[in-house]
Structure formats: C-alpha cells, structure tokens
Subunit: 248 residues, 2 copies
DNA sequence: CGGGGGGTTGATCTCCTTCAATCAACGTGG
DNA sequence: CCACGTTGATTGAAGGAGATCAACCCCCCG
C-alpha cells in the first residue's frame, strides 16, 4: 500500500471548491463551523485504493478534487464499475459499517472526511445535511438507472459515445463553456477502466474509439485528449435524444 | 386507457400491510394521522400504465399490493427495466415535477398516494419521513448497482439465475419460510419482461430457463410456477457468493 | 538498454440475437 | 361447438457483435 499523506492540506470551508455542490451545500455558516470542527482531509495518489469492499468503514466524506471509481468484483475476477466519483460526490453510507464496493483513486485525490459517528449525529440534528444527501442520492439513483439502459441495451459503439457525452457534459458544466463550438477534454480513465464501466473488453473499447475517430465523430491527440467537433452528432451516436437527454 | 377505479378501498394506516416498511415506517401515531388526512388510494389493473415518462407527475406514493415496473425506452423501441416495484416501494421523486420513467402495473396494483405539494410540505416538517426516504433511496441505489454488475458482466444463464434468486429471496422474506427445504414461487413477470430486466431477448430467456430446468437447477409446473430444490446451487449458477450475497 | 504499462490491431471463436415456425391456452363470435 | 385470432412461450437455423487470444507499438523510466 502506498504512502497516504494525511493533513497535508487544510482549508476553510468558505473557500472550498465544492462548497455549493457537496453534502454541505445547504449549510448555514454556524452549521459549517460545526462541520469544520470534525472534518479532516485525506490525500490519495493515483492508483491507490481508498477502501476495499467489505472492509470496516469508519468514515464518510466528499471528493474535493480528483476522480475515484466505485467497482464491484466477482470471485472469478470480472469487474463492473458502478459509479464514477467526481468532485463533490459523497462516499460512504450513513448507517452502514462496512464498505459495499471497492473505491479506487484514478487520479490524485483529495477527500474531505468525517468520522462516521459524529457525522451521523450531526445529520440527525441538521436537516440541511440530510436534505442535501437525499437529493444527491436521488441524483445518483437516476444516474445508475440511466447507466442500466446503457449496459443492458446499447451497442459497443453507443456505449462509447454515451460515456464520451457524459464526460463532455460534466466537463462543459464545470468549465462553463458555450454549448456551440467544439468541446475538448482529457479522458480521465484508461481503456481498461472504460471497459469496466461499459461492460466491454478493453480491446472493444479501443476498436470503437478508433472507429468513431475514423468516422469523424471525435478527434484524438495522443490517447487521452479528445475533441468533439459536433456534440449533436455524438448524442445521435449514443442513441440519446438529440435534445440532450432525459434529465432536464 | 382502461378504467381506473379510485377510492375503491380505504384503510386505516394502523392496519396497513406495508405500515412498517414504507416511507411512513418511522412515523409516530400523530404523524400518521396527518398523513392519513392527505392520502388516497388508487387501483390499477394488470397491464395498465400508471404514468408515462415525461408526463407531469403531481403525486408520489407507495405500492400497497401488486407489482409494477419502472422502464426506460429508446426512440427505436429498445427498452430496459430499471426497477421492480414491490409492496412498500416508493414511486416518484420529491422536488421533480415530471416522471423520469414509465411505470406499468404488471399485476393488479394498489397504491397509497399523496399529492406532491402537501407531501413535500409534510416532509420538511417531519424528519421521520425524510429519514426513511433516504434509507429507502440508499437501498434502491445499492440494488441498482448490484444490477449493473448483472447487466454488464454476467452471462445469460447467470442473469436468469440472478433474477430467480432475487425473486426467491424476497419471496422467502415475505413468507418467512425456513431457509432450508425447497423454495416455491410464481414468476411475477412474463418472459418478455424478464428479458427487459436482464438486457436479453425473450428467446434467450426462454432457452436459458429451459436449460436450467434440464440441468435440475429449477423445476417448472406450467410456465410460471417455479421450484428451487437447492438455493445454494442456484446462487452458484448466478455467480454470487455462495453465502448469500453482498448486502448483509 | 531492458522492461513494463497503456494502447492498437488482427484472427478466430462463441454466445447471443435475429428471423421464423410451431405450440398451448384462452376467449370470442358465428 | 368449432373456427379463428391472440397472447405467451418454446424451439430451430443462421448470422453477427463482441470476446478471446495473440502479436506488436509507443513512450516513459530506471
């Protein structure tokens, strides 16, 4: 296991980049002060495992920066990614003592953690936290269900296009770009991780990405840097409504 | 659209079969009284659509009896079931005005409904409801993620075995049977509905069920009546941990 | 220079889909 | 009562999308 550097950083909640999107989004300043007392930061390096499925989990927390994956593994080694954790996403389940999934940092990762007991205690006394957590959980449930359609019914090409459009969309919302004009981003996942997300093999992922490139749906510089000249076109390839999908 | 008989039944919450599992599970008697004032029952016949994706949704509610499905459909007609609604399950999302999925009654169905505005209002003033809803939503999220593994990584045979074991397990918990001895139940879904749940074609479902029957993993009387002589065996076929799975 | 991680591409195989015929159960109207 | 259509299900034959096995490339790093 690699070296984990705790407490390498510390931050005022007021300056926090995920202040308005995480579980704490609705908290008033006094509530934030109490959270500030029990929070602590943890850093993980790319590739490091945050927690193993089945392990005792005595904390919950939010992704502050970086990307992590939630995966499930069968005894014979087949793995399926069941969630992609981006900044502001919440890790852990109040009321459960052991982790249900493997959590792995795919990039360098910073998390804002709370020990479980104090957090649960605070949740019962702070409706703003519970409200926000419910909202976030409902969003995740919607995302999981959208992904079930991808996994169950889409072709390999459509799966790739779906993944690219999800990444493109969240990237656009992060950088506040205009919606016309080409979209450019770096893939945060290896081909293998994409395969685990999409229920494919990495070879098929590679082939379909090449095919989309040949067909001009995307352009690549290097392996990871993607340009989407026409988002409409990509959405068509994904089999989605051209107008941008179901979650308005 | 078929005739929907509203108000055909009315019931005291105290006698309600889902009293201890639904959103209202944690409510005190006084809270229950207030819920009782705003609730109303709706009945649907087997095959009837409860709500269409995209439609305005001015109520939320719980399944009291019967079974409904949550499905997503692509423009070309491919459909994926994203949830199976059993008694006590919750339908609708507070804070959202239109339905995200098609909800269809697969058997005769009774729902306990609340108009959305009064319910949301009550939710903010009754932590017991919000707490329970969060817990139920987290459970659904776990179920959705478990299903992502099934859809993404399991073979057709494993998918069928997984579906059968899920139905068997919930049936066992409903009838409070001992866990040894054979398990017997009726399939609540057609072959086509199973296919939509599993991301398969109905022909493949039929073939794999026949194969499991030939191999003695299950026994069939008619098309729907299933006997599981050895649950351990079925779980092995599903590719699950023999000890009964991940959600302890 | 060797080695390893990440990625691409090719050849072959196989599991599942697709298309199609058939069947059993059921209801309906002549 | 029987012919007929319908709905749900089973089974067969053929084809294809993606998996599998394998070779090879590129780039970085020790």
């Amino acid at each position: 296991m690699l070296n984990e550097r705790s407490l390498a950083i510390s931050q005022e909640c007021g300056d926090c980049p995920i202040r308005h999107k995480a579980v704490c989004a609705r908290c008033e300043t006094d509530e934030l002060e109490r959270l500030e007392e029990i929070k602590y930061y943890r850093k993980f390096e790319a590739g490091q495992t945050v927690i193993w499925s089945g392990d005792r989990m005595d904390f919950v927390g939010s992704v502050v920066s970086g990307i992590a994956t939630l995966t499930q593994t069968m005894e014979d080694g087949r793995t399926q990614m069941v969630g992609l954790l981006l900044p502001s996403d919440f890790v852990g389940r109040p009321g459960r003592s052991s982790a249900a999934y493997d959590v792995v940092a795919t990039t360098d990762l910073v998390m804002c953690c709370f020990r479980k007991a104090p957090f649960e205690d605070m949740m019962t006394r702070t409706p703003h936290i519970a409200e926000r957590l419910l909202e976030m959980t409902l969003d995740e449930l919607d995302a999981a269900r959208e992904w079930m359609l991808v996994l169950g019914r889409k072709t390999a090409r459509e799966k790739i296009a779906s993944l690219l459009s999800i990444i493109a969309r969240r990237d656009a919302s992060l950088h506040l770009r205009r919606s016309d004009g080409p979209i450019v981003f770096d893939l945060p996942l290896t081909r293998e991780a994409m395969a685990d997300y999409l229920g494919l093999t990495l070879e098929t992922v590679s082939r379909q990405i090449s095919a989309l490139r040949k067909d001009g749906v995307i352009a690549l510089e290097g392996k990871r840097h993607v340009t989407i000249p026409d988002m409409e076109r990509l959405l068509e390839e994904a089999g989605d409504d051209a107008d941008g999908g179901m979650l308005a």
